[in-house]
Amino acid sequence: MTKMRSDRLKIVFMLCLAFVTTGGQHFESKVAQLLQDETEDIKCFVEGKDLTCFWEEEEEKNNLHDQYTFTYSYENKNKMPCAVSSLSLLASNKTIFFCKLSKPPFFATLNVQVLRDGRMLYSRSLNAENFLFLDPPRNLTVLSSGKEGQLNVSWLPPPLKYMDDSMIYEVRYAVEGSNMGKVEVIKVSTMLVLLGLQSDTRYKVWVRVKPDGVSYKGYWSAWTEPVFGVTPPSDMDPLIVLLVLFIGLILCLLSLTVFLSQHKFLLKKLWPDIPTPEHKFPGLFTVYKGDFKEWMSQNNGSMWGRSVHVYTEELASPLEVLSEVSLTSHGTSQREERKPPEEEEEKESERSDSGLTDRWREPPQAHWLMEQLKALQENPESRSQSSLLQSHDTYVTLNQGDNERQADDVFEETLPLQTLFTTAGTSSLSTSRSDLGSLQQSSGSGRLSSQSSFEYPNHTWPPKGPGYAYMAVADSGVSMDYSPMSSSRIAELGRHRMYTNDYKNEIFPHKWPFSGQYIKSGSESCAGPVW
């Protein structure tokens, strides 16, 4: 029992000490604030129900507190004394003297005086209800309201009777770490909803209180300790969602419209049709089910004729034949014999684009060629030479020289044409005699084809070196007229070597310049040097 009583006393004592300490802290802070703000000599404030009036220690003298006398009176009453105390402020290193009136009269004019050594030092008349210095609000709470950009702030008023409905509050809030804050003023109510805040942001909130000034007046209290609150993250604005959906819908409609209007073009680009040669072979896949033999047999005659025209007209490839052989006179020396043909060939080549039938020489030239071909036929080595040449398969030269030179000619023929042709008067010559001969042979029978073989391509021919003749030969490809120039036929022609060269239907317009480049030519046999 005794122990319980002592424990209770201890608790009460601790509470009182805490209260006094807290009040003391508040008291000193209030004094410090009024020392800065209040201009009166006697500074008074009401804390709770007590009125405190204080003044600063004079600097000249080191006064003792007992030299001061504080008196007050009101409503015709006699002056009443008040005990003076001193306080040293640690923060500002100042000393003050103060008097605390316990439960002074409100709503009445108080007359206070400070006397020092019997002489009036300071005096003042005031109404106590006009100098309330309240404590800060209590239990400040900041909570998220759940709505975007809002915080709920609530607090408790200072414990003062009769004054609950006469208070005004000021709420200050700022983003954590920022010095820029906003202030909201609210009357009587002890809760506030902060609006227009940034989403998902941490805020600091302070509150202070003051009498509203109607019945009671006073000073702003100190700010509470800051309390933090975090605003909820922002939700997607429904308007933005709607706009995004609307724009997406429009884009889809646009793309659909474009696709529908251009679907053929797009399909062609994305899935191009695989080209088929069906249009070139009418009936091959439809009637003959892809049986080419059957199709060929059925369409042989007409197709060949047509194909000749087709190939002669469409697949013509220029064939340049370089020849040193003169075609004007066959009775002269080899060189001499060669030169005129070259000259003639040059002339022929130069006056190319006009009529083709007039280009060929008179029978003496043809007769000379026939003799050359016979000579070649008599020479059994021509075959091997032709075979050798065929193995090179890059160019065709007609060698009018001796048999002895065949081997040399072969090597010479393997050399670039430039080297070959720079040796004047050499036996290794590229002629077009065989070609001419073949053409001459076929001139009677197939003049048309020979003519067509002399179709010059439309491109310009670069100038050749002096003494070298060249002749462009349009490679007709499939041409029966050239069949006499097969290797077997050449063997019949005689002693002179006839170099045959299988050429393909290839048009190499860019290789016509005299660059010494060899080109492959012809699937069909064609006698004659080619580039």
Binding site: K103, P105, A108, E129, D165, S215, Y216
Partner: protein, 185 residues
């Protein structure tokens, strides 16, 4: 402000006309009405401080005591408080009327007129709260100043007393009126 006082007066007239009827008066518990009267009393003080000529004469006025000791006040019952308030309002009404007779400054005269109307309205409010004084005997001027009265010598002091009285005792009484407590609960 005059319009507001006029409206309240009209309301009170109707209340008075129907005062004897069975149905009780509707209590006026909103203290903002009193706050309005307090502001007008303060305005008179301001006008008085700025008055230059025709601001009345120096004469004694019998006015109520305005000081409130909360410890003592809480021990007085509501009816006792009501009597004290009722007497004080009557004293102020007399003093202001006497002072207005000596004032030639029109702003000040108008302000004093408002104050007198407000005091009449407060009487009606107390009546609505059933706090009218049962006894209407006022102390006369010849009697020495009772503990409930005091004497002032100027219009400035008179206006200051009026302001203090309204803010203090009248407000405490209205805020503690039983009719308003029953309404809030």
């Amino acid at each position: 402000m005059q319009t507001f006082s006029g409206l309240v007066s009209v309301l009170m007239v109707f209340v008075w006309l129907g005062g004897n009827q069975v149905s009780p008066l509707r209590p006026i518990c909103d203290l903002r009405v009193l706050d309005h009267f307090v502001r007008e009393a303060r305005d008179s003080e301001v006008i008085m401080r700025g008055c230059r000529g025709g601001c009345g004469v120096m004469k004694p006025y019998l006015v109520p005591l305005t000081s409130v000791d909360f410890a003592v006040w809480e021990h007085i019952d509501v009816h006792g408080q009501a009597v004290e308030v009722w007497i004080g309002l009557s004293l102020l009404d007399q003093a202001l009327s006497n002072a207005m007779k000596t004032v030639s400054n029109s702003p000040l005269a108008n302000a004093l007129d408002n104050n007198i109307s407000n005091i009449h309205s407060l009487g009606h409010i107390l009546h609505s709260l059933d706090l009218q004084a049962r006894s209407t005997v006022l102390p006369d001027d010849s009697a020495p100043a009772s503990t409930q009265t005091q004497e002032v010598s100027s219009l400035s002091e008179l206006l200051q007393v009026q302001s203090s009285f309204l803010r203090g005792k009248v407000r405490l009484l209205l805020s503690a009126a039983p009719a308003c407590q029953r309404q809030n609960s």
